[in-house]
């Protein structure tokens, strides 16, 4: 009995904006299921009262003065653009 259903695989792929082939759906369902099955061992650990750790460092809110600084030129920023026009990235319409 696989841990993930096919529907769940499709839903995850949609959230991640990945289009999977039929073969990929089958493969990932099996592989992700076995990995997740393995990962459930962390459920055994007693973590009552244990704070989550997101980062190894004691720093937070590292700020700098709100001053204008040089950044990338428009030309550099567009240098790898798949499509550019009028100094902007050209993309498909979002709204009709």
């Amino acid at each position: 009995m696989l841990k993930l259903t096919r529907q769940e695989v499709e839903k995850i792929a949609e959230l991640a904006k990945l289009t999977l082939t039929e073969a990929e759906k089958v493969m990932f369902q099996e592989q992700l299921s076995s990995i997740l099955e393995y990962a459930t061992m962390i459920q055994q650990v007693d973590t009552t009262g244990i704070p989550p750790m997101a980062s190894a460092i004691p720093l937070s809110n590292v700020m700098r003065a709100d001053e204008l600084r040089l950044s990338l030129s428009n030309e550099d920023a567009l240098a790898n653009a798949p499509q550019a026009q009028d100094g902007s990235f050209k993309v498909r319409a979002i709204l009709d």
């Binding site: 991640a16 904006k17 990995i35 990962a39 459930t40 650990v45 190894a56 798949p82 993309v91 319409a93």
Partner: protein
Amino acid sequence: MELYSLTIHAAQEMLRQGEISSVELTESVLARIEAVEGQTQAYISLQPELALSMARLADERRATGEDNALLGIPLGIKDAIITQGVPTTAGSKILENFVPPFDATVIGKLRQAGAVFVGKTNTDEFTMGSSTEYSAFKRTRNPWDLNRVPGGSSGGSAAATAADEALATLGTDTGGSIRQPASLCGVVGLKPTYGRVSRYGLIAHGSSLDQIGPLTKDVEDAAIMLSYLAGQDPLDATTLPAPVPDYVMEMKQAPDLKGLKVGVPQEYFVGGLEANVEATIRAAIKQLEILGAEIIEVSLPNTKYGIPVYYMVSTAEVSANLSRFDGVRYGLRVDGGDMWNTYHQSREAGLGPEVKRRIMLGTYALSAGYYDAYYLKAQQVRTLLRRDFERAFEQVDVMVSPVSPTIAFEIGAKADDPLQMYLSDVFTVSLNLVGMCGISVPCGLADGMPVGLQIVGPALGESTILRAAYCYEQSTMWHQQKPQGLTVS
């Protein structure tokens, strides 16, 4: 003695004395690449003309009286680190034609020091993998046995350093990706404390885990490289404000290891560790004792949870970090008719199976209904892992262990079994989760293949682990051994 086989410190001595020029040194390395690269496939791209112009510039700078440890030294750079004007692919089709418009901070520092860049080394795609087999472009081979993997994800860097295709290389380590290939290829690999080296310009894998570090021919070279790489960076808010010590001087401060307390974590010597690897590691630990260290058995009780925690935390971070690859501002775009389909098609075409696997795992771990059971739970267990290490470091100064449970495996042996691949990271992932430092140093051969000894230290403990590694190395001959797998006419 061929120039390409020199260490950084030996080459620098000859450069200082005027015995060789950086151009000669670089030409030697480029000729070596020509001779063996067909066998190792360590590089994704090479920039010989650029390298020679950097070498000429270094010689000119030296002529004006400039002198520093990296001036004129030819290095390879892992292709996950961006280099202005030089294609950077992260081992992925989605960035196949990407040319960065700016340098990573570490690249700027190395340029300022006058180093020479010969090429970009191969990596598993987006540094996800333990064998470099997931690179979208080529498979790198272990110079000790071309039928075996070099390890990963910094397999290209490890192979290049081992095969003298650079005097040293830069790699990155998120779950062991410097230490493991270093171990498998018989070179030194150092993962700094999280926050010691800037991640600005490192194509992100796991932002709370990634670090850039050196792969070198000996420990002194690692100390030299670290002294240039380390330091706070205003462009990376996760870098530590701690001053950078003189690592080379601190490394050499004592002739032996008297007074050093070395912990051996009992959980690292059970199940899955190959007998020949264990025997080699035990012999190395014995050697540390002979050098005067006090060997103390310690316990890291939550060790076995390291892998599942890592594969929840790192994949969650991956799912966020790789969402920028959408065909909009850079990288591969496959037009899908509308915005959403363009995202889908671009990512489908550009991202490889391991990357997709991890994005999906991470997306699942973070998704509604599963966040608490997987991601949050993993973060809590991460705290327990950290406390294990902190508790151990109250009793000892460093801890030692194997890096990899096996010697380098054969190409293809694990590529179809992702879980098996993940399990081989058991000795390395915890260190990234807890953010502390570690080094892999060659400690022998098992069945003719290199074995690395991992020495780990507390946060900002680089001087201590370098000292231990250096003392050990200098009492053995392992760092002088060269790979046996290459054919050179």
